[in-house]
């Protein structure tokens, strides 16, 4: 790692890979899985919360949110549902991927509401004809990649998507905020992503873009054993969440809810074909696409027959860039690949080091040329 920093500093390249994958890679994908839920109550005013598209079948979508997003909550306990208080519910999808679902007292649209008794959860079954580009991929294990500078422990990066609603300001929906996992209890996750009330019911993702929790609350540092004066996001861990909602879902719903990894692997397979036939431009495009679906390297991808290979889109993206004589970009991607630590266990790592060395030589020469020209 130190060597990589040295190389990049030498070349004057910004180490932009550092904050894991999500920020510039699959933010749209995460947002596309998130819905905004605006609830107008009898007493006036509209509150905004969030939800996650768990899965979809032919005519309906299944949206998971926090129960209090619709029914409100009083401090310390969750009230029983009181539908009479709600005048209007509007569920919006990112970039209008589908028309908003609007339910009012006059027109009932939501097919079914299933609420948890002991957990702050609500599953909304809504009619939806459009095929959505993505629904949630579930994961019970946050992926760690960053090392805490103080404790030296590995901290898992997390991402929350929701509506940023600050006092006196217009809500900014589908905001992605990042943080790290602070504490993990059997049922709850605490994280440092700066969520606000509009994130309630919204998703908490790991750095691979998999759903690891549902944000339900904000806790003080005192409550969770953290720094005083710092607020922490509280999320229901996905394991217990699924225990609760699984019985409300159609049998194969969750099983079919993870097309992202399949999409990533299928795209990677096509990308590997492009690598094999040395179509580097196509390889670059497809590797980037695969990264959009799944940024975390590692795991086995079926190529053909009995051939499996390690999922290494960043390494291969770097290779494609290298073949396109874009050494600077290639080095950045290889650096990112090394950070994820999957490539080190693969036979391609030796090639990576070899190409890295060549690239550095090339860039050194280029810099020298520029310096010489500038000096004249």
């Amino acid at each position: 790692m130190r060597a990589r920093h040295g190389i990049l500093l030498l070349l004057g390249l910004a180490p932009s890979w550092a904050p894991a994958a999500a920020q510039d890679d699959f933010t749209p994908l995460l947002k596309a899985q998130t819905v905004k839920i605006a609830v107008a109550r009898e007493g006036g005013g509209t509150e905004v919360g969030s939800g996650i598209l768990l899965c979809q079948d032919e005519s309906q979508a299944y949206i998971l949110t926090a129960r209090h997003v619709l029914f409100g909550k009083s401090p310390g306990n969750i009230r029983e549902p009181d539908a009479g208080e709600v005048n209007r519910i509007e569920i919006s999808l990112f970039r209008n991927l589908a028309p908003a679902i609007v339910e009012s007292r006059q027109e009932k649209v939501i097919t079914k509401q299933s609420a948890g008794k002991s957990r702050d959860l609500l599953l909304l079954t809504v009619p939806l004809q459009q095929v959505l580009p993505a629904t949630a991929v579930l994961s019970t294990a946050p992926v760690g990649s960053e090392v805490d500078s103080r404790s030296g422990e590995r901290q898992a990066a997390v991402y929350a998507v929701g509506s940023q609603q600050e006092a006196g300001k217009v809500a900014t929906s589908w905001t992605l905020v990042e943080g790290t996992l602070f504490r993990r209890d059997p049922d709850l996750l605490y994280h440092t992503a700066p969520i606000t009330p509009g994130f309630s019911g919204g998703p908490l993702f790991n750095e691979s873009g998999a759903l690891i929790g549902i944000n339900v609350d904000i806790a003080s540092g005192l409550e969770v054993g953290g720094d005083q004066g710092v607020q922490y996001g509280r999320a229901l861990a996905i394991g217990p969440v699924i225990e609760t909602v699984n019985k409300w879902l159609p049998g194969n719903c969750l099983r079919s809810s993870g097309p992202v990894r399949e999409l990533a692997y299928e795209t990677y397979r096509r990308a590997m074909r492009a690598v094999s036939i040395k179509d580097w431009l196509q390889a670059e495009a497809l590797m980037r696409q695969a990264l959009q679906y799944l940024a975390q390297e590692g795991g086995s991808v079926h190529l053909q027959g009995m051939r499996y290979t390690t999922y290494l889109p960043r390494y291969h993206l770097g290779l494609a860039l290298y073949k396109e004589n874009r050494c600077g970009d290639a080095l950045r991607e290889w650096g990112r690949s090394e950070v994820q630590q999957a490539v080190q266990d693969d036979k391609r790592y030796r090639k990576l080091k070899k190409f890295q060395k060549r690239c550095i030589e090339i860039l050194k020469r280029d810099i020298q040329k520029v310096s010489t020209t500038a000096g004249r």
């Binding site: 692997y265 299928e266 094999s276 036939i277 053909q304 009995m306």
Partner: protein, 484 residues
């Protein structure tokens, strides 16, 4: 797949009456044994899946099986493969017994009904060698060497007796015979494939086939029932005919008792083509189809009397047969046709290739065997009618299963199972001549069971092993694939 040679040769090769499926007889020699052509698809992986591979065709063995499948290599990269096979055959043939009447009870004529015997043979060698190479723009090429057929057989028949014992003068005993056959057909092929739009791949190949065939059937004299040649069959004849070489006696295989010899020689080469298409309907389903043209080879057949024959060194009929002359002739020039094959298959593949189930149907045109059958039997020289000999086309069904047991970065382990139905395709005589009916009996349908395992080590090397077993045939295979 299994083929057969279309033998227009008109004489039979060796050994008749091998009831085994997979036989390919070329002539109507008195021992026309089935040539068990080794037409199963190459590759230990394919063998372990019962040869059901058309719609997968996802390694370099596709070059022969379904060349369109070579486009799969564009995903995985170039590869070199080597396969070693061992074939064990149990050739079944009519050895002795009494048909079309009860046994007389004299000498060896005590067995009611025909009895078959089995002769084992074993061949092994490099059966497939290939280099599959991915070219820019998505073209794929494969060079390969394939043992299309590798067969050896050796049989010995005591000679069955036919006819009614009540009128013993009407009995006929097939001449005791010894036969041997060595057949090898090697295919040097070049196949190419390209993926069109719509996930449809097409492929074609051209093959240079080489035939090396040598067979020899020796028929030994046996006496007549009227052993003392006094015009009557009586107790003296019964006593004399029990002696070795007598009508009811054990065979006399001594050299000076050699009655006649039929030989078949083939040293020819020719070209053939194969075509294929592969349609990956979606990640779960794929369809494949292929056509494999069987090569045609010139073969020379001879009939010569031995020392015990009426005119040693001469033929019973000086006229030589040819594809255009089939009557009043003996031996000559024939054509060995390897049957064409039309095949189609479907494959179901689960997510990440963990499980594969494949089903193939092969139509093997065994009937081509008799298209130019020529005569090698002296008794048929004047009356030979090709239409009385037939081999039915075969409808093979192959079913295969492959399950990935585990996938790791260092090792991928696989288990395979398969089975296939191999319909009878022995040369069958449909006329009324009883001795010929005993020699050319319909074959049996055979079901093969197969299993295999495979390992991929560090994404570099694939090792597969498989075995295919049926009542009479056993094929074992091990293959190595090196990925680049």
């Amino acid at each position: 797949m299994r083929g057969a040679s279309k033998a227009r040769l008109g004489f039979w090769l060796l050994g008749c009456c091998l009831g085994a499926s997979g036989l390919v007889a070329q002539t109507n020699d008195d021992i026309n044994s089935g040539l068990q052509f080794n037409f199963s698809t190459p590759g230990a992986r394919s063998l372990g899946m019962g040869g059901a591979f058309l719609a997968l065709a996802d390694d370099a063995t596709a070059a022969y099986t379904n060349p369109a499948g070579l486009t799969n290599l564009t995903v995985g990269g170039s590869e070199f493969s080597l396969e070693l096979r061992q074939w064990r055959y149990a050739n079944a043939f009519t050895d002795r017994g009494h048909a079309f009447g009860p046994p007389s009870g004299i000498g060896i004529d005590t067995v009611d009904g025909l009895r078959t015997a089995e002769a084992d043979s074993e061949v092994s060698g490099i059966s497939f060698l290939s280099l599959g190479y991915v070219l820019p723009k998505g073209f794929t090429l494969a060079f390969y060497r394939h043992e299309l057929a590798d067969f050896q057989a050796g049989i010995e028949s005591a000679g069955a007796i036919v006819g009614s014992g009540e009128r013993r003068r009407n009995l006929f005993r097939v001449f005791p015979a010894r036969s041997s056959l060595d057949l090898e057909i090697v295919n040097y092929g070049l196949s190419g494939a390209y993926e069109l739009a719509g996930k449809v791949s097409v492929g074609a190949g051209v093959s240079f086939y080489q035939l090396d065939l040598a067979s020899r059937t020796e028929r030994y004299f046996r006496g007549e029932q009227d052993a003392d040649d006094d015009g009557d069959v009586d107790a003296d004849d019964d006593r004399l005919s029990r002696q070795p070489g007598g009508f009811f006696g054990p065979p006399d295989f001594l050299g000076d008792n050699l009655f006649n010899v039929q030989t078949q020689q083939g040293d020819d080469d020719t070209w053939g083509v194969n075509l294929g298409v592969l349609w990956k309907i979606n990640p779960l389903w794929s369809l494949g189809a292929a056509y494999r043209q069987g090569p045609d080879f010139d073969v020379q057949a001879r009939y010569v009397y031995g020392p015990r024959g009426p005119s040693p060194g001469q033929s019973a009929n000086p006229n030589l047969c040819s594809p255009s002359r089939t009557r009043d002739c003996l031996g000559g020039q024939g054509v060995l046709h390897v049957p064409d094959v039309y095949a189609a298959g479907v494959a179901w593949i689960t997510s990440q290739g963990r499980t594969k189930i494949t089903l193939d149907y092969d139509r093997v045109q065994y009937s081509q065997l008799t298209d130019d059958l020529i005569n090698i039997l002296a008794r048929e020289a004047g009356v030979f009618d090709r239409s009385q000999y037939r081999v039915n086309d075969g409808n093979e069904v192959h079913l295969g299963f492959e399950a990935i047991l585990g996938v790791g970065s260092q090792l991928v382990a696989t288990l395979r199972l398969g089975a296939w139905y191999d319909p009878a395709h022995a040369l069958e005589y449909t006329g009324t001549d009883e001795p010929l009916l005993t020699r050319f009996q319909p074959g049996d349908d055979v079901v093969h069971a197969a299993t295999g395992v495979g390992l991929v080590i560090r994404e570099n090397l694939q090792v597969d092993a498989a075995i295919d077993i049926s009542d009479r045939f056993k094929t074992a295979s091990i293959s190595l694939v090196k990925f680049f």
